[in-house]
C-alpha cells in the first residue's frame, strides 16, 4: 500500500497478470464488469436528471432532483420545519459525545457522566422543551431519531448488560439461572417479535391509568433486547481475566463490588471494546427495524419521501441516499474499530480474547 508510483506498476502487473490463471481471472472479472458497470453508469450519470421537478425526470435515468427536493424530509421527516435547529443540534450533540468517546485518552468518569446528560439534553430538545407547544414523538423522524434511539438504547442497555454478565459468571445459582434464561430468551427471539411485544403487549400489561407512547415503549423493549447481546460480549471479556486477579483483590481486603469495579471490569471492558464497537454498528443497522412498527426512522422517512404523490416512485434514489448515510457512519466506525483493536493490542491492555473481537462477530 505504501509503495510509491515506481513500484506500483510492477505490483499491479503481477497482481493482475502475474500468472496465466491470474490473467484469466482478470479477464473474466473485466467481462462481468463490462456487463454491469456501463448500464449502471448510464442510469446514475448519463441519463440522470439533476434538477427540475418530477416531470423533468425520465424513467431511464436516476432522478437526483428528487433527492435535492426531498433531502430535508429524508433527514428530518415530519419534524416542524421552523424548529429544525433542534434535531440538528441533537445530531451535533450526539456526534460530539461519540467523537469524545472514541478517544481512548478521555475514557473515564467525566465521560460516563456526560453520556446520560447528553441524552437527557437530546430528549428535551426533541420534545420541544421551553417552547409553547411540545412536539409529540410521532412527529419525530429521520436521522436524529435513528441516532437518538440508538444512543439511548445502547447507553441504557450497557449497565443492565454488565449486571447480567456478572450474574451469569457469579456463584449465586438463583441469579445465574435467571441471567442465563433471560439472555437465551432474548437472543433466541427476532427483534421484530420484540418490537411487536412493545406494540401489542406492553400497553395491555401496564396499569390502567399509565400509558406511554410508542417511541418510549419501543425504546424500553429494544434496551432490554440489546442488553442480552452486550452481556454476552462482556462475559467474554470477564472470562479473559485470570482468576488470580480476583484472588489478589480479595487478599487485599476488597469486597465483591469493589473488586469488580476497581479490578475486574476496567480490564474486561477494555478488552471487549472493539467487540462492543462492532456490536454497536450492528445495532445502528438494526434500528432500521423501527420502520416495521411505523416509527419514522431514517429508512422509513426515505420510503415515505418516495411515496409523496408529487415525487411518486423514486424508491431507488431514496434507498441509495439512505445507504450512503448508513455506509458512511458504519464504515467509518468499523475502520475506527480496527484501529482501536490494533492500538489496544499494542498498548499492553492485556490479552485479547481469542477470536472474540474479530471483525466477523457483528450483530444486526
Amino acid at each position: 500500500m505504501t509503495a510509491g508510483p515506481p513500484r506500483l506498476l510492477p505490483a499491479l502487473r503481477a497482481g493482475l497478470f502475474g500468472t496465466r490463471a491470474n490473467t484469466l481471472i482478470t479477464l473474466a472479472t473485466l467481462l462481468v464488469l463490462s456487463q454491469v458497470v456501463p448500464p449502471l453508469l448510464r442510469w446514475a450519470v448519463l441519463d440522470a436528471t439533476f434538477s427540475g421537478n418530477a416531470g423533468a425526470c425520465t424513467r431511464e435515468g436516476a432522478c437526483w432532483a428528487f433527492v435535492a427536493a426531498k433531502l430535508r424530509f429524508i433527514l428530518f421527516a415530519f419534524y416542524p420545519p421552523d424548529l429544525q435547529w433542534r434535531p440538528v443540534l441533537v445530531m451535533l450533540l450526539l456526534g460530539a459525545i461519540l467523537a469524545a468517546s472514541a478517544v481512548p485518552r478521555l475514557w473515564g468518569r467525566p465521560l460516563i457522566l456526560a453520556w446520560p446528560l447528553t441524552i437527557l439534553a437530546c430528549w428535551l430538545l426533541l420534545q420541544g422543551a421551553f417552547t409553547a407547544t411540545p412536539i409529540p414523538s410521532n412527529q419525530w423522524g429521520g436521522l436524529p431519531v435513528t441516532l437518538f434511539v440508538w444512543a439511548l438504547c445502547l447507553a441504557a442497555a450497557t449497565p443492565i448488560a454488565i449486571l447480567l454478565a456478572l450474574a451469569r459468571r457469579s456463584t449465586l445459582g438463583g441469579l445465574r439461572t435467571f441471567s442465563v434464561l433471560y439472555i437465551e430468551l432474548m437472543r433466541g427471539t427476532p427483534m421484530v417479535a420484540i418490537l411487536y411485544v412493545a406494540m401489542l403487549i406492553l400497553p395491555m400489561a401496564l396499569p390502567d391509568g399509565l400509558s406511554i407512547d410508542k417511541m418510549l415503549r419501543a425504546i424500553v423493549m429494544v434496551t432490554l433486547f440489546w442488553a442480552a447481546y452486550i452481556a454476552e460480549v462482556i462475559r467474554a471479556g470477564l472470562q479473559a481475566i485470570p482468576h488470580g486477579q480476583a484472588e489478589a483483590a480479595t487478599a487485599l481486603g476488597l469486597g465483591y463490588w469493589r473488586t469488580q469495579r476497581l479490578v475486574i471490569l476496567p480490564q474486561a471492558l477494555r478488552i471487549v471494546i472493539p467487540g462492543l464497537v462492532n456490536l454497536a454498528i450492528g445495532f445502528l443497522l438494526a434500528t432500521s427495524l423501527l420502520a416495521v412498527i411505523g416509527i419514522f426512522d431514517l429508512l422509513n422517512a426515505a420510503r415515505a419521501a418516495a411515496a409523496d404523490p408529487q415525487w411518486l416512485g423514486f424508491y431507488n434514489e431514496a434507498y441509495i441516499v439512505v445507504a450512503v448515510i448508513y455506509f458512511a457512519i458504519c464504515f467509518g466506525a468499523s475502520r475506527y474499530s480496527r484501529w482501536l483493536e490494533r492500538r489496544l493490542a499494542g498498548g499492553g491492555a492485556g490479552p485479547a480474547p481469542a477470536g472474540g473481537t474479530s471483525a466477523t462477530s457483528r450483530k444486526e
Partner: protein, 381 residues
Amino acid sequence: MVEKIRAWWGGWPLGQLAFLLAVGALGALFIANVLETMARIGILPGFGFLSSSANFEIGESPIAFRAGDTYRRAILAGLLNTLKVSLLGCVLATILGVAVGIAGLSRNLLLSRLVRWFIEITRNTPLLLQLFFWMALAKALPAPRQASALFGSVFLTNRGVYIPSLSLEGGPFGLAAALVLTGLASLAFILVLRAAGRLTRRSGTFAVMLALAAPLAFLVLSGARPAAELPALSGFNIRGGLNLSPEFAALLTGLVVKFAALIAEIVRAGIQSVGTGQWEAARALGLHDGQIIRLVVLPQALRVITPLTTSSYLDLTKDSSLAVAIGFPDLVSIVNTTANTTGQSLEALIILIGAFLTINLALSVLMNVYNNRVALRGSRR
C-alpha cells in the same frame, strides 16, 4: 443432595430469593393487567382461537390454504414458509459465502478488491434497506411478455422468477420413500463403521456407491423418468416450471447476499487463522496445494469457521422475520395478522417466540454436534 443444592445456590440466599420474587411479582402483575385488559375488551384468554376459521388469504404456502381454514393451519403455513426460506437461505448463503470468501483470498488484485467492496457495502447497510431494494428491483423487472430468458429457461419478471422444475413421471409413489431409505441406510452404514473405527476408504466408497446405485436401479426397474419442466411464454403469461413470487425471490436474495458476505468474512478469517508456517511445512513434505487445503488447512480452519457460521445461521433464521416488511407471508407476518384479527396478541406472540426459540435451540444443538466433531480433541467439553 441438600449439600449440592446449597452449593449451587451459593451465598446471599435471602437477597437472591427477594430478587427472584420481585421479578416474579412484576411478571404476575403484568399478566394480571393483560388478562384484565382482555376481559375489558371482551376477549377470552387461551388458545381456543386456533380452531376458529381465519378469514384471510395467504399469498403463497407449501400447504394448501384457503380463507376459512383454521388459524392453526394458517400459522403452520407461516411456519413452513419461514423454515423454507431459512433453510434455502442457509444452504445458498453457505455456497455463495464460501465461493466469495475464497475469491477474496485470491492473489488477483481486481477480484479481491471487488470482493472487499461487495463485503463492505453489504455489511455496512441495513438488511431491511437491502430487502426494500431487492423488492423495488423485483417490481421493476419487465412484464412476462417482455421478459427474455436467461440460460434459455430462467425468466426474471415482475410477477416473479420462473425456473425449471424437476419431477418424476410415471413412477410409483414408493420410489421417493425408497430413495430416502437407501440414502439413510448408507449413511447409517458409514456412521456405524466410523463409530467402530473400521471405516476404510473401501467401505466408505462402497456405501456411497450403494446410495447412488440404488435409486438408479429403482428408476430403471420402475420405468419412472425424471422430467424437467421448462417455463415458457404462452399468451400473456409464462407457464410451466416453478414460479417464485417477487416477495419470496426478494427475501431469499436479500438474505443470501447479506449472509454470504458475512460467511465470506468468516471463511477468510478461518483460513487466515492457519499460519503460513503450516503451508510451508506441508509443502516441505511434498503435498500439493489441493492436498494442503484438504488435509492441513481446512480441518484447522473449520474449528474457527464452524461456531461463527452457526451463529450466522441462527441470525439468518431470525432475520427471515423481516419478511413481514416486504409482504412475504412468513410466521411473523401471519402471527401479526392473527393478533390483529383476533385480538389474542399475547397468545400469538407466545406462539411466535416459542417457535423461534425451538428452531434456534434445535439448530444450535445440531451445529454443536458438528462443532464437537471438528473441534480440537482436547478442547471438547
